[in-house]
Symmetry: C2
Subunit: 418 residues, 2 copies
Amino acid sequence: MRLSQLFTKTSKTIPADETSKNAKLLIQAGFVHKEMAGVYAYLPLGLKVVENIKQIIREEMNSLGSQEIIMTSLQRKDLWEKTGRWEDASVDVWFKSKLKNGTEVGFGWSHEEQITEMMKDYISSYRDLPISVYQFQTKLRNEVRAKSGVMRGREFVMKDLYGYSRDAKELQEFYDSVSDAYLKIFDKIGIGESTYLTFASGGAFTQFSHEFQTVTDAGEDTIYIDSDKRIAVNQEVLSDEVLKQLGLERHKLKEVKAAEVGNIFNFGSAKAEQLGAYFTDEDGNDKPLFLSSYGIGVTRLIGVVVELFSDERGLVWPKSIAPAQVIIDRVGESSETIKAADLLYSKLLDQGIEVLYDDRDVRPGQKFADADLMGIPLRIVVSDKTISAGQFEVKKRTSTDVTMQSLDDILKDLAVKE
Amino acid sequence: MRLSQLFTKTSKTIPADETSKNAKLLIQAGFVHKEMAGVYAYLPLGLKVVENIKQIIREEMNSLGSQEIIMTSLQRKDLWEKTGRWEDASVDVWFKSKLKNGTEVGFGWSHEEQITEMMKDYISSYRDLPISVYQFQTKLRNEVRAKSGVMRGREFVMKDLYGYSRDAKELQEFYDSVSDAYLKIFDKIGIGESTYLTFASGGAFTQFSHEFQTVTDAGEDTIYIDSDKRIAVNQEVLSDEVLKQLGLERHKLKEVKAAEVGNIFNFGSAKAEQLGAYFTDEDGNDKPLFLSSYGIGVTRLIGVVVELFSDERGLVWPKSIAPAQVIIDRVGESSETIKAADLLYSKLLDQGIEVLYDDRDVRPGQKFADADLMGIPLRIVVSDKTISAGQFEVKKRTSTDVTMQSLDDILKDLAVKE
């Protein structure tokens, strides 16, 4: 895309009420627009990052054999009453409203109840199991505080997956395979090294639930990491007994702040029993379904990536989720320079590479600053100087080294995944 | 996808409260699940149709130079108060709720106000114009009645596009180009012949607004079509004066029921003035932006297509939006048949063709009935008989003719767009 045509602009001003680093940078770079606290619209570059993350997650979920659907925001009160999760006393993040006939409705902050009720129509026999479905859903949560930018939204995109199994053993096998898939996803997004499988408090059926926590000072959780074993314990369950059970030693743990980017819940058969979701087993007996649910905060991940990688010059996107792989900074307005930059732009597009082309009539300094602020992995300068050298001036966002490279070399570098 | 793995099933039962033909068929074929009146979840096959339609629209919007974004459902009361569209007396489809601190919020039934407020941050000069943005947004509308299945939802997906122009002339040029793009979209989706550009009541600035109405008895509007001139007049503006103005003759018009699949509004400068959205013109003067907005009901289109094309055997999808191009019905369980069907499945997938593969252990009659109910454009039967003939038994969904064809011939036919 040509920056002269992109309607967003980089900016030096940010909303006075914005305190989080991730939202400040995303707003300044023109990736998001703040509607109210915890509520952000995604502009063209921000939407690209969202879609790139979704695609990485989608591929892994499909590899698990999970099937994509999309449920609704509007929720029926009666379903959530059955599981005791309608009243504000038990769930304090509901947005609620009323139909014209007075019927109360809620807006989906989670979807276990709704999906399980639906699956009753499609699961009748053990032959239908195991099965899982997932969606990318806009969740609405009436958070009291929303001061962490896109890391804690009142409206945000989540991938949630729901697995139905015939018993605890089958559930555990699926649980482990999703857990592996999650680690792959965080690796691909570039935060694998900072992300820990974390033991947190469980529910009625399991001693622990599992979280995926990414170490960042912007996180709201405190966890204790064992860097060697690559696991962590959430503060809420830290005790000598738990450490012994997990084979961890207190003196090897490090206390850090972290943000929960994924979580896994094992509901056992409890929710199915509440909702009347049964199947017929091999012997003709009715058994309750075993439910597990698996979340990844898609838009939260964007905030975490910004917090982790950005620097004093702005955003820094990992290649895998960057809104573009390359930004071409055209320096100079001679017809030769314009011709050379246009040609490079079309050649890169022909190779299927996502490119931003700064063809604006602004000072080189502003172009360089904007390229850094937007965090595009590779900057290529086209100027009289580079034309006479027969090469391009190339700089990685994560480096200050400028090198001269031929187009062939640039294409080779771009083909390498990092 | 193998039907043995698809979690949805075709069904003969439908919700007792469902009266619309489109929702009945979509539910029976396993494309949607009804949550409450006017609120439907989209299952794997239904979601594919949604995404196919979105992609057709997206390509045309991008060709216009429009830029995709995604706004939020949560809406600020103060914005809509400025334009007099917050109170239920003026807009009766709001869902509203409250933040924890008591602040009232609404859920987006439309987005003109929010987008225009945002664009104030990005448009300052005539050099920024014209510009347009679009989104695929889940709209929430508190409809009193929702009896038309997916054609009138309380929750539905809409593509809405917002154009900002410097004056009435520039607006009109854009208006005409979007209008052309809309006709292309309806052609591609297969409803072009049944869809009419329709003159309807205008607003403060224009005598008429324009609707795109598709002729179907399931529609809620009454329009008068001139089949030769390919235009129509909505009942609400039908008068001798209007007919004269449009060069139409009453005796050539035919009264029909129709469903509005798209619409165009010209707000002139009124909304920008209410919201304080100005730009600086060539002479340094502040001028209000001219706003036009353009909607297409994505999920409504699905309902319209079902109403138009389905028959007594079930759904009938145009190739361009079908959830799969081909369904393979494997008849017989001999190892040769399984091998031949598996091979055909993988060969078609290798060609990038979307395929459903009915590998279930059910009677042939049920497979044929399900293939028809799901509306897949091409059915290919693999059986002992076809193997011995060295060809496949092929039937189009829209025909009862069965022909024997080689794989090469099948691939040639599939490459032709209809």
